[in-house]
Symmetry: C2
Subunit: 295 residues, 2 copies
């Protein structure tokens, strides 16, 4: 990981994920242990943790206690990990490699991968519903509604379906910005929104967080497309060049203009943070990292 | 459906499901429409609606307004429908038929079925999180936690994994009562618990609802095993006799003792309702229906 991400926060995120995931203990039936093992295999596989970092540092703007924002961030990461497990399935993107290791259905089997994904999605809401995440039930349900909306038919799931249809040439006239806004943007926006909800953000503050996150998400997707052109499979930890069949921002804009677009989006993201009097350097650093990342 | 289920309530449940499911309107990208269509295909396929009936009639004991209990019941049914879609997948039970029609992955394709299931699971929590389900956020999160627990690794998902391992002969020494308590019992218990939470049930009342639901769930599974012995595929609306490879209550107890066990469980379920002063005849009728059902 790069220095753009606060090492102490990353450590706390790993600890929180490990503590909230079901254990693999022998005191439960073999089936439950197998699901727990598959959940931990995918959720503790050393991802970038971009989304929980966004939740924690957005919440930091409002002085939210870290034990709360870490739980909310873990819920977001559970949903991100579930989506990777299901996306990798043979019927979806059919990817054998994830983060440099066999994907879940290769390490276990398809049934286990489907169920581990289902359980991670379900557990995310159980984590958010618990009163240790925030004492006010209304705040908890606001976070649950925002995350469910971002993950569901009008968010990530819908975006993934659009992507699959586009791959098959069945998508009709394709709005790639809309596709990416749903497939990856919605969850990145929700990551920041959760920090705002935990902190009791005003409408203006919420709008600023969403503006930051929307631009960050789009920049992230453009650099992803750029990386897919240039990086090795070893660096990426997953098969690369697989996106060449589908239309990317690089195809649409060309390589140099795509990079320029990512740069201006990152500047806009940072500008959106200017309304906060609190120290927003951590969120600024994450935005700048997007441009420098190699995987 | 039999007269055991209140026709007016069943109609309201269908209306609520139809209203809460995403629409298939042309004003959205093709991918989102496809997911919506698959969600509606499976969730509006004329199931028994046992679980939402349990939620509504449990809530009725406390005089909960129907618009609230119908929404909570719909959330439970969304999760039940998601589990059927995923269970039918080739990697799981590999079932081509469901409720007399092609299962979701046969009607659409595997990717669509996986995503439609994911979206139904996600939407269930969005429905519960909304303040129209109950004005008190703490009540809403109590329902969300109970439902997530029943559906997740320590509930339905864990039970399904146990079942798959048992099919492969990899389950180790199998506790079939535990397996069924997780795979189907947990969600039936949660269906009643949600009614109790909506109604502000006392601890004793909650215990009575759980006792009723646990016995009902076990009786339901035993009669399911009995039906699988005797019914035609046409009556069942799904392939029958497929469970013969796995250990059932009928194998364990024998056919006649299994029926006797189901009968005594139904009597115990009805007895558990005796602490309620309110009219519990609808819940009693559902318990008795379990014994008479033909599908």
């Amino acid at each position: 990981m790069t220095a753009a991400f606060n090492k102490a926060v990353l450590d706390e995120i790993e600890k929180t994920l490990a503590a909230l995931l079901p254990d693999e203990g022998l005191d439960q039936p073999k089936g439950l242990r197998r699901v727990a093992r598959a959940m931990r295999y995918s959720a503790l596989a050393g991802g970038k943790r971009l989304r929980p970092c966004l939740t924690v540092h957005s919440a930091d703007l409002f002085g939210v206690p870290r034990d709360r924002s870490l739980r909310a961030g873990a819920a977001v990461e559970f949903i991100h990990c579930y989506s990777l497990i299901h996306d990798d399935l043979p019927a979806m993107d059919d990817s054998d490699l994830r983060r440099g290791r066999p994907s879940s259905h290769k390490q276990f089997d398809e049934a286990t991968a489907i169920l581990a994904g289902d359980a991670l999605l379900t557990d995310a809401f159980e984590v958010l519903a618990d009163e240790t995440t925030h004492p006010d039930g209304a705040v908890r349900t606001r976070m649950i509604a925002a995350l469910a909306h971002a993950a569901g038919q009008k968010g990530m799931v819908g975006g993934q379906m659009m992507d699959i249809l586009a791959d098959k040439g069945e998508g009709g006239s394709l709005d790639i910005a809309l596709l990416q806004s749903l497939k990856t943007g919605a969850m990145i926006r929700a990551s920041c929104e959760l920090g705002g909800y935990l902190g009791g953000a005003s409408e203006d503050q919420m709008t600023a967080l969403r503006d930051y996150a929307s631009r960050l998400g789009l920049a992230f997707q453009i650099t992803d497309d750029l990386l897919d052109l240039t990086s090795s499979e070893e660096e990426a930890g997953k098969p690369v060049g697989q996106d060449h069949g589908k239309l990317t921002f690089v195809d649409l804009l060309g390589e140099k203009p795509a990079r320029a677009k990512a740069e201006s989006l990152v500047e806009e993201a940072i500008d959106a943070l200017s309304i906060f009097k609190a120290d927003s350097r951590a969120l600024q650093a994450i935005a700048r990292f997007i441009l420098s990342r190699s995987h």
